[in-house]
């Protein structure tokens, strides 16, 4: 065959080799078909470990229990026993070492999440006592009268 046939052929081969070389370097070694086959499992296997290693931020009330025993006991004996500490106090991650004080959400809006009356019959919301925020002491924080750890304590 003549030279003018070989030359473009060499160019094509060079391009293919280049693409394969780049792919070999660029694509991570652990890129493979996972447990779910080619259609759903084609991925970088190391990413599963990355997701497992994300830091846990909400540690649960058991984490609070040992140091804040009195608080834990009081809320567990009240109507608010189902509410996790971290729902109002924020995630406990790095507390108390890095973050000695947690920001407590004492806003009226926070209490109204449950206690704004929405009497939707087929929802549990209708069974929670509610207040009209415009009528019920609109200018003061709920916690001025109600202890969040025992909301009806000392009230008439």
């Amino acid at each position: 065959m003549k030279n003018h046939v070989y030359r473009p052929l060499l160019v094509v081969i060079a391009v293919v080799v280049l693409i394969l070389a780049v792919r070999a370097i660029y694509v991570p070694d652990d890129f493979a078909i996972g447990d779910r086959g080619y259609m759903y499992g084609w991925h970088r296997q190391g990413n599963e470990v990355d997701w497992k290693n994300v830091k846990v931020k909400y540690l649960g009330r058991e984490y609070c229990q040992d140091c804040h025993t009195d608080r834990y006991t009081s809320i567990m004996a009240s109507a608010h026993q189902d509410i996790e500490c971290e729902n109002c106090h924020g995630p406990a991650v790095d507390h108390p070492d890095v973050r000695p004080a947690l920001a407590i959400d004492k806003s009226r809006a926070h209490c109204l999440r449950c206690h704004f009356p929405l009497p939707y019959a087929s929802s549990g919301r209708s069974k929670i006592p509610g207040i009209d925020p415009d009528e019920h002491n609109p200018d003061i924080a709920c916690a001025e009268c109600h202890n969040p750890h025992d909301p009806m304590e000392g009230l008439k």
Binding site: G41, H43, R44, N47, D50, Y58, P119
Partner: protein, 262 residues
């Protein structure tokens, strides 16, 4: 006299009979078999159960999810959200989820978008309820099929993940998800979605939203474990799934689903 045919026949029968172990005559107990399956650590398939009767729309799940998974708090994107449905007596279906219900539902006014609100009188409401939404971790995830680079995938335990290093941000998966659970992460600039708090469930914890819910409206379970209370509810009680007609086989089950819920 014994013929050759008779000899071969009885020999074959005798050898087969001796080769059969006694165990072959045991009836296989399906419960035992399932227990064996469950004992194997690799036999995990995470599923989610939502009880819409218990949900009060407080949005504490959304708040916890955003904090736990580092989704920018004030950006209007979230991995899980709560929808409110209000059905009026004259057949209107109104639904809203202001900020994904991050701050709960603290008004009777329904957010129609574009700064418009609608107040429905209590006597005009036929039924009203809250529906928490999250990724369905489909058995046939359409979002995974459309990814052109292999950045999103399903694991053996059924959770669908996104590889943030590999995602090119083309957005095909966001369009491909029939449930609208995917969005762009404003910081990482990649596709983002709920993964049942994979870092928690693989450590024996529950997802942040499940722990944050004071009413037990959200639960997680392993469908391959027949003793799991969530599995038992899914197997024996009336549960619904979203958009069954799409064939995605979603793995988030709902108690008290209504046909108006899309």
């Amino acid at each position: 006299m014994i013929t050759r045919r008779k000899f071969l026949k009885s020999t074959a029968l005798g050898v087969t009979g001796m080769a059969l172990p006694l165990a072959a005559f045991d009836f296989i107990d399906p419960r035992k078999l399932m227990a064996l399956e469950a004992a194997d650590a690799s036999k995990v398939r995470w599923v989610f159960l939502v009880d819409t009767y218990k949900c009060v729309g407080c949005g504490l799940c959304v708040k916890a999810c955003k904090e736990e998974n580092e989704i920018p708090y004030d950006a209007n994107v979230t991995r899980t959200w709560v929808e409110r449905y209000v059905l009026t007596k004259n057949g209107e279906v109104l639904a809203d989820t202001p900020k994904g219900a991050r701050d709960g539902f603290t008004t009777a006014k329904i957010d129609l978008g574009l700064g418009k609100y609608r107040e429905v009188k209590q006597e005009d409401i036929e039924k009203a309820f809250f529906v928490p939404k999250l990724c369905n971790q489909c058995e046939n995830p359409p979002c995974v099929q459309v990814c052109p680079v292999g950045a999103t995938y399903a694991t053996a335990d059924g959770v669908v993940h996104i590889d943030r290093k590999w995602c090119i941000g083309c957005g095909y998966c966001i369009m491909g998800c029939p449930y609208g659970v995917r969005f762009f992460h404003p910081v990482h600039r990649t596709a983002e979605k709920c993964n049942f708090c994979y870092h928690r469930i693989t450590k024996g914890l529950k997802p942040a939203c499940v722990d944050a819910c004071p009413f037990g409206a959200r639960r997680i379970g392993n469908i391959k474990d027949p003793g799991d209370p969530v599995t038992r509810i899914i197997m024996t009680e009336r549960v619904g799934i979203l958009k069954e007609e799409y064939g995605t086989k979603p793995q988030v089950f709902y108690i008290g689903l209504s046909r108006e819920v899309k």
